[in-house]
């Protein structure tokens, strides 16, 4: 049974906050194939299309038949732990701060021997299940856990470094006035978040969802308007050093394209909220979150953006909206690179049309806000980097990967 993680104590004001350090990040191009699999939560290894041999570590030539036709295929995540060690010495500053550190060699059911980060409860000679996760440097690593989940497994300190478990962490939900904002507040509360800050813009516009949130425990509703630089700056000054998971769920959906609805003001508002809003949040909250990337077991870990799946491909019915989402998505990659210096990871959820006022005319299937929020928080717990939510989002991303020209044309109908 994994030792239970004790809840964080109040911060000792005379204790220096450790500066963030990163695990080694020098990876080959081939190894980033693993990162792509980890980002989407898959356990896939290179498999030879000709002889079916599974390869690890990643490479460009099959070590069995010398074919270069290696494709990433989902494979069994089972294996047997053959050897283990617990490091009490490391050559790397990141691990030195976190010793002891447990490692193992697992022989995978599909063949290769894999060096893994090892969960506390794994026993040599016994079965384990592996997963591809992303470490604090933003790169894929393999971890192994007991075959059957053990008690308090998510409290394992080593594994907690690879995940964004909200348990005992403080969350800022940027927009508490939407259906999804309410769903996220509930989902984070269920996940054991220690405190949930919820932003409220334009307080004169009453939202039933925010009123619902107001009734919850451990919730602080704070003034936050992402279109207002002062507002973002003021809130960051007030709670920036308490935010361990940022949830940017800014949402401003108006239908219309370019010719069919030529209106710079609408486009401006979308960009203000989705794009410039992200800039303001990043500029004000980013530095302190990045600086707290190694602040103990409960330091800042993740920046979640809730984007539309139309960030991937423009839906002409929501033309400028899609563009503003694409702009924000691009910006998130910049944010990912910059926050990586502190080990804080950027996670993007991509959602299809959600059941709300602004999607009245969107054809089903539409996402139920609460279930959507639960799935987003579940993916955060697993440490997934790109989270498509729902059939529409999954299909868009799949079709974009397969043939972007096809979906570009087909999406209009």
């Amino acid at each position: 049974m994994t030792r239970k993680l004790s809840p964080p104590k109040r911060k000792n004001p005379i204790k220096r906050t450790r500066l963030p350090t990163m695990p080694p990040g020098n990876r080959s191009r081939e190894a980033h194939g693993l990162t792509a699999m980890a980002a989407s939560g898959r356990f896939a290894l290179q498999t030879c299309e000709e002889c079916e041999a599974v390869q690890y570590p990643p490479r460009q030539i099959c070590s069995n038949c010398l074919s270069d036709a290696l494709e990433w295929r989902d494979v069994s995540d089972g294996g047997t732990l053959l050897a283990e060690t617990t490091l009490l010495h490391s050559n790397d500053l990141f691990f030195r701060d976190r010793l002891p550190w447990r490692l193992g060699i697992v022989v995978a059911d599909v063949g290769p021997s894999i060096v893994v980060h090892l969960a506390e409860d794994c026993v040599q000679g016994e079965r384990v299940r592996m997963s591809l996760d992303i470490d604090r440097a933003g790169h894929a690593i393999v971890t192994a856990r007991t075959e059957k989940p053990s008690t308090n497994e998510e409290d394992d300190l080593q594994l907690r470094e690879m995940k964004f478990n909200p348990k005992d962490r403080r969350v800022l939900i940027v927009d508490g006035k939407t259906e999804l904002g309410l769903g996220l507040a509930k989902a984070f509360a269920d996940a054991g978040a220690r405190k949930i800050f919820v932003g409220e813009a334009q307080p004169w516009r009453v939202s039933p969802h925010l009123e619902e949130i107001r009734k919850m425990e451990n919730v602080n509703i704070m003034p936050l308007d992402v279109t207002d630089s002062d507002s973002v700056e003021e809130l960051a000054a007030m709670i920036g050093d308490k935010v361990e998971i940022m949830v940017n769920n800014s949402y401003h959906l108006r239908s219309g394209g370019l010719i069919d609805r030529f209106d710079l003001n609408v486009a401006h508002d979308e960009m203000e909220i989705h794009y410039h809003g992200l800039i303001r949040l990043a500029g004000e909250f980013g530095p302190v979150m990045r600086a707290r990337g190694s602040d103990g077991h409960h330091g800042s870990v993740a920046w979640l953006n809730v984007f539309s799946a139309y960030a991937w491909v423009n839906n002409p019915a929501l033309g400028t909206y899609s563009a503003s989402q694409a702009a924000a998505l691009s910006l998130s990659h910049c944010l990912r690179a910059e926050l990586a210096e502190g080990g804080v990871r950027v996670v993007n959820a991509f959602i299809g049309p959600i059941e709300d006022e602004w999607n009245q005319l969107a054809p089903p299937p539409k996402l139920v806000p609460e279930a959507t929020a639960t799935r987003i928080v579940g993916a955060l717990k697993k440490g997934i980097e790109d989270i498509p939510i729902g059939a529409v989002a999954e299909e868009i991303i799949q079709r974009m990967v397969e043939n972007p020209k096809e979906i570009e044309r087909a999406i209009k109908s």
Partner: protein, 389 residues
């Protein structure tokens, strides 16, 4: 086809550039001092050395090529052997064939490395693509964690204990006490060994080699030339090398020697029972066990029992790592891959730095290197024979 023998080839002039924990000098300096020492002891001019075999981790961005200009030599035969701990045995067999065929007359073989304060970390942080991708990001323990795996697996598989490994480390320390440049200068007892601080379980401090700066070198030439220079020399009975042996073993429990041992002894015309002095590659004691087994001194899994009733010191019945090995002398980078050959040569030509093994005629030096991912890939070994015998 039968392998050719090494008739007519002499190995001579064992040279060690004294080790230091850290050095401000470059690898070029260590190579240069080794060459200066070689020619001075051989009584030859620099330009008489027409072949070079170089191994180093810290010559970067140079290789053996840059070294020729640096040292002002114009060899007609040049090899750079990036095989770390296995390089010495490989250098020996290549140089021997070059001399035997007449492609070169005198080949200087050297393993040399410097050790600046951060050299070791930088070396292991960029050791290989597989290590960068699939090992170093896992705790960054370097070789400690890799050998911890092998040790853990071996112990569980064959029931070996820490005391068994301790016996090797303690005997080597005793041998090292007579070697002036050895890093470790104090005796080691079992209690100290067992209670040392943990590095990577089950490995503790005295299981782990200490990186340092230094060089090991020797010359290969014809017997005629060695005689004309009035040099003591040894001859070569056999050599082997092997890379990536037993890839199907899920964890390394044997290495290339096990593939080649039969051929090795047959080629040499002697068996393991004829070996008077044995130098095993020893960055961690587990690998010594594997060599004792894979080179046929005992069956697989029985190394612990084999050493239990044997004395491994210079004066014992199984003289082993007679200069203290790397575990006591220090690991001078790629120099560690030449240490076994050089020490064997010292024992067979009466040029030891520490105590001599009485009446040693046949010496076996075994080399191991390059943890590319989860295991060491390169093995080599050589049997040398005292020339006067």
């Amino acid at each position: 086809m039968r392998r050719h023998n090494y008739e007519g080839v002499a190995v001579c002039v064992p040279v060690t550039v004294p080790y230091s924990r850290y050095s401000l000098k470059s690898a070029h300096w260590f190579c240069g001092r080794a060459l200066a020492d070689l020619i001075s002891k051989a009584g030859i001019e620099k330009n008489e050395v027409d072949g070079f075999c170089v191994s180093s981790f810290t010559l970067n961005p140079d290789s053996a090529v840059g070294l020729t200009q640096h040292l002002g030599v114009s060899p007609r035969w040049l090899d750079h052997i990036p095989m770390g701990g296995a390089a010495g045995g490989v250098a020996l067999r290549r140089a021997a064939r070059a001399v035997q065929s007449g492609d070169a007359e005198i080949v200087a073989c050297m393993g040399a490395d410097t050790n600046h304060v951060d050299t070791f970390r930088q070396t292991i942080a960029t050791f290989s693509q597989f290590a960068n991708d699939a090992v170093y990001p896992y705790g960054s323990g370097g070789p400690n964690s890799s050998f911890a795996f092998l040790t853990d697996y071996y112990m569980r598989e064959y029931g070996a204990t820490r005391e068994d490994f301790g016996k090797i480390c303690i005997a080597q320390r005793e041998n090292a006490l007579d070697v002036p440049h050895a890093m470790m200068k104090r005796p080691l007892n079992m209690e100290q060994y067992l209670n040392a601080r943990i590095i990577a379980e089950p490995l503790r401090l005295f299981d782990c080699v200490m990186p340092c700066a230094g060089a090991e070198a020797f010359l290969v030439m014809s017997i005629e030339r060695a005689k004309s220079l009035d040099l003591d020399y040894a001859t070569i009975l056999s050599t082997i090398e092997r890379h990536n042996a037993f890839p199907e073993d899920p964890v390394q429990i044997r290495a290339g020697w096990a593939v080649d041992a039969d051929d090795f002894y047959e080629h040499a015309g002697i068996g393991p029972e004829d070996i008077d002095v044995f130098q095993a590659y020893d960055d961690y004691p587990i690998i010594c066990f594997m060599q004792i087994e894979d080179l046929g001194f005992c069956a697989k899994g029985e190394a612990a029992a084999f050493i239990a009733d044997r004395n491994l010191t210079t004066q014992g019945d199984f003289p082993y790592n007679t200069s203290g090995g790397q575990l006591s002398a220090g690991q001078a980078g790629a120099g560690g891959g030449y240490l076994g050959i050089v020490e064997t040569l010292r024992q067979l030509t009466d040029q030891t730095l520490g105590k001599a093994v009485p009446n040693a005629v046949h010496g076996l030096a075994s080399c191991f290197g390059m943890i590319n991912y989860d295991r060491g890939l390169c093995t080599s070994a050589a049997i040398l024979k005292r020339s006067a015998a």
